[in-house]
Amino acid sequence: MFRIRRVYDDITPANQEAIAEIQDILRAQFPRLLKRTVAKLPDQLIG
């Protein structure tokens, strides 16, 4: 089932997972875009 939801923060596990999946989509489609950005992701989520 398709649904749309707003991601308000990166606090809940569900939102963390959603952000990671967004990054996966971006990594697959725009490899140059994420060479640096993906690497920063874990630190930013923890912070």
Binding site: F2, V7, Y8, I25, A28, R32
Partner: protein
């Protein structure tokens, strides 16, 4: 915003801007000024849209990015995300949605997609991105 139907290679300047948007959002999702909606199928993300209020305006919002997973394209997910964002903007008393895109052939599908959703071309800036690569600005009045 550029919905990239054919995954064209980004220019270095586009990469820098994209990273700035994403990094800003990830550093502070609540206060970044960027809003994000995700489309999910069975709890798995299949696309997302990033938008936000235009600074120093009243009720004008920029649509920055929308991306749909390659295997999910052509299923109406991009349209649903756009309409979802427009609905959220309306709830926030937004009145105008603005999209900027490129005039190059790689973005023809993107342009048609937006025109199909009711956006109108309101400005065309020749050679904006680079010689021969114009900026096209589209607008939709949200009622």
């Amino acid at each position: 915003m550029k919905i990239l139907q054919d995954t064209p290679e980004f220019k270095p300047s586009e990469v820098a801007v994209a990273e700035e948007v994403i990094d800003s959002y990830l550093k502070d999702p609540v206060n970044s000024g960027y809003y994000t909606l995700v489309g999910e199928v069975d709890l798995s993300v299949v696309g997302y849209i990033c938008y936000g209020p235009t600074p120093l305006t009243e009720g004008t919002w920029d649509m920055y990015w929308a991306v749909v997973a390659q295997e999910r394209r052509g299923q109406g997910i991009g349209s649903a995300l756009m309409r979802g964002a427009e609905e959220e903007i309306r709830k926030a008393m937004g009145r105008l949605a603005i999209i900027e895109t490129s005039s190059t052939p790689a973005y023809e599908k993107t342009l048609r997609f937006h025109l199909g959703l009711g956006y109108e071309i309101i400005a065309h800036i020749p050679d904006f991105y680079s010689p021969g690569d114009d900026k096209i600005i589209l607008q939709k009045r949200l009622k």
